[in-house]
Subunit: 331 residues, 2 copies
């Protein structure tokens, strides 16, 4: 197994990305390729690692660039070459902390969508006190048709079962009321489609089911998913800031800010999905892991571990087989 | 000014609601009417208050009942009689912690929509470290057309200016990217309409702008608003639970759980919108305040204060005037 890592993507590239790649080469039973400018990477590679290779790429797609521009005439960019390694069969997974729009567009274009899947979706995995919870789509599809949501549910369920080991995953449809008739036109139509699947479909769930033990996979359109995740991140930050202020007011607590700060830091880490290894672009012909722009070496290493697990558990093959069988049933 | 309070609605009705109504009669320069079963209220009214009156109503619409059922043949329910007091001009505002769907449907039906406004919307006001932030629609309209969002923006702006004293309020459109072209079909079309208003329109905002100082009014459809608010409430609860666990692990902090608990409780209070006086149904011909089902006496009193401020600042009159002028300009 080989994992391609876009060494030039991310706020702390190439230093932290290369650092994370070396860590991954040390801890994983996988070959790692760092893709990028060899001169820029050299100071951070040091003695390197027997399982670490370099794939040269001279161009970089910057964070602010339009994803569309990345699709043509930028074949020598680090992210494009990293995705191409999977498309060419030279690697089985690709990891990038760079321009996520460009990375996803390139992944969809170069790797292609698995047969039978209407649209790829971004799946975010939260660690919860009860295990893991998956939410998708987290932003790839702003406007969805009901059958997209059904496919997201199928993909999320296969991923939760085959990669996270949850069996059978409980699937909920994000809505604004638990009863079947509640929701908007999209979710009401998707509800009907989901009832006709073999999924362990619980029906509607609400915002309060996030991070709870009520379901394992939450399905929504990419607009809703993106807004939820960003709002929750902000709510957590805001609450911590507020607690910080309250703590300063308390003379007792002021005496021991050290342990408290450490506690708070551990507590909030669970809200940052980059800590959990990044988001997964589900539905493309390959394992494609989207990391947060501010990923450090540990986050990159986690993402490589996540990629390793998905490849080892044959996630793409399982998805292809489930959707191929659906096609046969429907034909 | 008279404020009608549905004494039978809410998890702690009538005891806490009546308690809150008496508090409101004590602190506000307003007459208060508690609407409900006089026998059920009697034990909690005690000696009453010179400015507190009772309006009898023998029926109660329970939390689980379908809002549609509340609209016919339930004229003797406490919430129906309380809304009727505003419709008849006997009160200027109505407060209920009962079945919110029934309360909103009754308010829209009996009070009517202000001329020129496409749909009433629920506005939730968050206290932030910088003042207040308003988000609407928080759940009244699951499916929206672009002109609904424009009207929400106009209503939210009038409310923020006339009742919260923010001038001129900065209005943001909730989306999934700051650039104009980002979003779904609804928000892209709404963006065009918002650019043509006289509002202080900032353009798109994101989930991370929630509770921040970047804008004062955030506009979204009722599906997105409802999901965001519930998800943030859950994220805050989950973070607190996590912090609680971390604190238990720390021997230093274990020695002083009292002050820490108090700090955390103060910090999370800001996330519960019932603490801020409840949500406002904007766009109907009257002041209608929707409280959380688990409102206690303090929350009911806050809601009455909120209602008092909205009436005193002539919110409904200002809305009517703004939308009447729009009609003239468009005609």
């Amino acid at each position: 197994m080989r994992i391609a890592i876009d060494a030039m993507g991310g706020d702390y590239a190439p230093e932290e990305v290369v650092g994370g790649a070396i860590k991954a080469a040390e801890v994983l039973d996988a070959d790692i390729t760092v893709v990028g400018d060899p001169d820029a990477m050299a100071p951070f590679i040091g003695q390197g690692h027997p399982r670490l290779e370099i794939e040269p790429a001279r161009d970089v797609i910057e964070m602010g660039e339009s994803p569309r521009k990345a699709l043509r005439g930028r074949e020598d960019s680090s992210v494009s070459r990293a995705v191409a390694m999977v498309a060419d069969g030279r690697a089985q997974a690709v990891v990038s902390a760079g321009n996520s729009g460009a990375f996803m567009a390139l992944s969809a274009l170069r790797l292609g969508t698995i047969k039978g899947i209407s649209r790829p979706a971004i799946a975010v995995t939260f660690p919860t006190p009860y295990g893991h919870q998956v939410i998708l789509d987290a932003g790839a599809n702003a406007d969805c048709r009901p059958e997209f949501l059904r496919d997201f549910a199928l993909m999320g369920s296969v991923y939760a079962e085959k990669t996270l080991g949850i069996s059978p995953p409980r699937v909920g449809l994000m809505s604004i009321g638990e009863e079947k008739g509640k929701g908007n036109e999209l979710t009401k139509a998707a509800y009907e489609l989901l009832e006709d699947t073999d999924l362990n479909f619980l029906g509607n769930v609400e915002g309060t089911d996030l991070l709870s033990d009520t379901c394992d996979v939450i399905v929504c359109d990419g607009f809703v998913g993106n807004v939820i995740l960003k709002a929750c991140e902000r709510a957590a930050q805001s609450l911590l800031a507020q607690i910080g202020k309250e703590v300063k007011r308390s003379w007792v607590l002021r005496l021991m800010p050290g342990p408290l700060r450490a506690s708070l830091k551990r507590a909030v880490a669970g809200f940052d999905y980059s800590e959990a290894g990044g988001a997964l672009l589900l539905g493309v012909n390959g394992v494609s892991i989207v990391c947060h722009g501010r990923s450090d070496a540990d986050a990159i290493c986690s993402a490589a571990e996540f990629a390793h697990r998905a490849v080892e558990n044959q996630l793409v093959e399982h998805l292809a087989s489930v959707f191929a069988n659906l096609d046969e049933v429907e034909a």
